[in-house]
């Protein structure tokens, strides 16, 4: 039956019903795919449970968390991850921002060169890992060692020497993700109003002055967002390590927390313990992100 109610459509749905009709599919998906797994994994983290065995979850309190936090090996994986995050994100920041500064001017083939620089970011991390593993980092036949052979006494064990393996992972991740940093920085740089530089030129300001007091403050918020994304992503480093250094080798030299988490969850099927570890990781990432966001808000306020 059709009515003349002002908040009803011609087919008889109220505004509220219409809103719900649009929101419900998304809400249902969100609850099924995100909220439920999140709560279920929290529940499992307090249980002894293996997804590969028929036995039901058995409540063991905080034992999974206690075991993990008391395990010296786990702290070693956290240290390795922190070391990787620091080196990789710092390298990506400086290289990406440097490239953006170079590209933030008009020159021939700019578009083509920018596209070329963005290519690594568009590849699958597994392909990137295999590519570097077989072509460049192969200890005996790799191109990198071939090019370095005139200056080296013996080939570098990129993936076999524990002192070098982390550097190899950082190089590959930097090669892949510096373009992301570059892209965000470039967007920030192109948004800086030209008249500010013109005014600075009138005042005969130096290049350093313009960079320090015009470019950097205006680009900082975007750079911080890029840093936030890269830090969160680097903290979850798994794929490149899995492929390039064969599950975090040599030994534990490149075994990140996510690599270890994968083994716990999908090799050992120690589901309860893996859930506990995933929550520890989640808390650390949320804490780190909060620090960034607070700093970002401060910078935005200043800008």
């Amino acid at each position: 039956m059709q009515t003349n109610h002002p908040y009803k459509t011609s087919r008889g749905m109220s505004d509220y019903q219409l809103k719900m009709a649009f929101i419900m599919p998304t809400m249902t998906l969100l609850i099924l795919m995100n909220i439920f797994p999140l709560l279920w994994s929290l529940y499992l983290s307090f249980h002894r449970y293996k997804a590969s065995m028929p036995a039901a979850p058995r409540f063991i309190g905080v034992r999974n968390y206690a075991r993990l936090l008391q395990d010296p090996e786990i702290w070693g994986y956290f240290q390795t991850t922190a070391y990787f995050v620091f080196l990789a994100v710092a390298a990506q920041f400086f290289i990406g921002f440097g490239l953006a500064l170079l590209l933030n001017r008009e020159f021939r083939y700019k578009g083509f060169i920018t596209t070329l620089l963005l290519l690594p970011m568009m590849l699958s991390p597994v392909v990137v890992g295999l590519f570097w593993r077989f072509i460049l980092f192969s200890d005996n036949s790799g191109l990198l060692n071939f090019f370095l052979s005139p200056v080296l006494k013996s080939p570098i064990g990129w993936t076999t020497n524990p002192k070098v393996a982390m550097l190899a992972v950082v190089i590959v991740d930097t090669w892949m993700w510096s373009p992301f940093m570059m892209l965000i920085a470039l967007a920030g740089l192109s948004a800086v109003p030209k008249y500010l530089y013109e005014a600075a030129d009138v005042d005969r300001a130096s290049a350093w002055f313009k960079f320090r007091w015009i470019t950097l403050p205006l680009v900082s918020p975007l750079l911080l967002i890029a840093l936030l994304f890269r830090t969160m992503d680097a903290f979850k480093m798994f794929d490149i390590v899995y492929v390039l250094t064969r599950e975090g080798g040599p030994g534990t030299a490149t075994e990140t927390v996510s690599m270890n988490l994968y083994k716990l969850a999908f090799r050992n099927y120690n589901t309860g313990k893996a859930c506990a570890m995933a929550y520890i990781l989640l808390i650390i990432i949320v804490a780190l992100s909060n620090i960034y966001v607070k700093y970002l808000n401060r910078v935005k306020g200043e800008a």
Partner: protein
């Protein structure tokens, strides 16, 4: 008009369903999953006879070794009916039987299979869990052992023989002990000529370093633990085990620079490219060294020997797999029909002739089998010395600990004793969590 359209659509759907059902009935098929290696190709070839006899198509899916376990176990967790028959490692038995991923074949085997015709230790290793219980979850498909290939052109070169005897005081020949193995590896290590003494498994992938090292550890007097009490401390981190790990780490200096990553493929490549004088691998991989297209240097100059003895015993890592039926298969009867067909003597003879390592006692002990390839004799000699890793449901966790810490030891991140202590601690934690120490 509307009802005509609806009727037409329904008729089309019914016709399609009928055609699909008929098609499915007429084309029965069986899916077998195995690791990616030559025996899987032989099995695909052998299965053509089964298809000719029964009209049932057989598809052998091959998964690369490093991902083999992960992919199959993930399918089990998802209760997938993707695989009908799983040809899995001996260590998988405990986990997949207790995890209800394999069906119990005890009654069926006792009624349909002549168990006495199967090589006894293979039946125990690949089919029975718990050991000695008479409960079967598989039939042995491929029996394998770790062994060595060596360059006969180097070992039998008069100049090399004289130089070796002068340096070490005994004749150059395939080593019988690990001390001799070390001497020979040292002798042939000439980095300036891009030649090294040995290639063996050091990789962190799947079971790489564990399968390579455990036979050394056993032969030096170390063990994984007490099989009755599941106590590990004092066994796995004993002085003997530490000496064995020191020995295995020391051996790395006579291997190519990228040897810490060596698994089966890298070891074969190192041998086939003429980079090493000796290489350890499972016998089932050795057809690769006899193939002139792959091994241009020594395909016709290769000899084979069994893994050497240590100061406190002689043990060799068992390889090979058993054939089990997935609990989630929709073709269990066809799978049983296939397994019964596979275990027949004429089929086993053909399996051996194709290159498969048959578990059939009579075929295995026949001269025809021993002469079928240059390495079959050494393979048969290895049998009395075979030993296995833990086959308990927690084996994957136990294996992961070994892989990580042994690889850390050969990479000099940990000392041998530190690595063994770490493994012993983790193994006891795993056993404790699983309730092995409960009264």
């Amino acid at each position: 008009m509307k009802s005509v359209r609806i009727s037409l659509v329904l008729a089309l759907i019914l016709a399609f369903a009928f055609v699909s059902a008929t098609k499915a009935d007429n084309h029965q098929s069986l899916t077998i999953v195995w690791a990616e290696w030559d025996p899987a190709n032989y099995l695909q070839e052998l299965s053509k006879d089964f298809t000719a006899e029964t009209g049932i198509a057989v598809d052998v899916i091959q998964i690369p070794w490093p991902n083999f376990q992960d992919k199959v176990f993930t399918a089990f967790v998802g209760k997938s009916d993707l695989y009908d028959i799983v040809i899995g490692d001996s260590q998988w038995l405990g986990r997949n039987s207790q995890g209800e991923n394999y069906i119990n074949l005890t009654d069926w085997i006792n009624e349909n299979i002549d168990v006495d015709a199967i090589y006894g230790p293979a039946m125990t290793a690949f089919a029975e869990y718990p050991k000695g219980s008479g409960t079967y979850w598989a039939l042995p498909a491929e029996v394998d052992a770790a062994g060595y290939v060596y360059r006969k052109d180097l070992f039998e070169d008069p100049k090399e023989m004289a130089a070796f005897e002068k340096k070490y005081g005994y004749a150059l020949a395939p080593p019988k002990t690990y001390d001799q193995l070390r001497d020979i590896a040292e002798f042939f290590t000439r980095p300036d000529d891009d030649l090294y003494g040995i290639a063996t498994w050091y990789s962190k992938e799947y079971d790489g370093i564990t399968m390579g090292f455990q036979q050394v550890m056993w032969s030096f007097g170390g063990t994984y633990g007490d099989a009755d009490t599941y106590k590990v401390a004092g066994h796995l981190n004993s002085e003997d085990a530490a000496k064995a790990l020191e020995f295995y780490t020391d051996l790395l200096q006579f291997a190519p620079p990228d040897a810490p990553n060596y698994y089966w493929a890298e070891t074969l490549n190192a041998y086939n490219s003429g980079k090493v004088a000796m290489a350890m691998n499972y016998f089932a991989f050795f057809p690769g060294v006899l193939n002139p297209e792959v091994n241009k240097i020594s395909h016709d100059k290769s000899g084979f020997f069994i893994a050497p003895a240590g100061p406190k015993g002689h043990y060799i890592s068992i390889g090979g797999q058993g054939m089990s039926i997935s609990s989630f298969s929709k073709n269990k009867d066809i799978a049983k029909q296939y397994m019964k067909w596979f275990m027949q003597k004429p089929v086993q003879e053909k399996w051996a002739a194709l290159g498969g390592f048959t578990p059939h006692k009579e075929v295995l002990q026949s001269d025809t089998f021993k002469m079928a390839s240059p390495f079959n004799k050494a393979f048969a000699e290895s049998f009395p010395y075979l030993r296995d890793f833990w086959a308990v449901p927690e084996y994957a966790e136990l294996l992961a600990a070994c892989q990580t810490h042994w690889n850390a030891a050969i990479s000099k991140i940990k000392t041998p004793q530190e690595a063994l202590d770490a493994i012993a601690r983790e193994h006891e934690e795993i056993f404790e969590d699983a309730g092995y120490y409960d009264e």
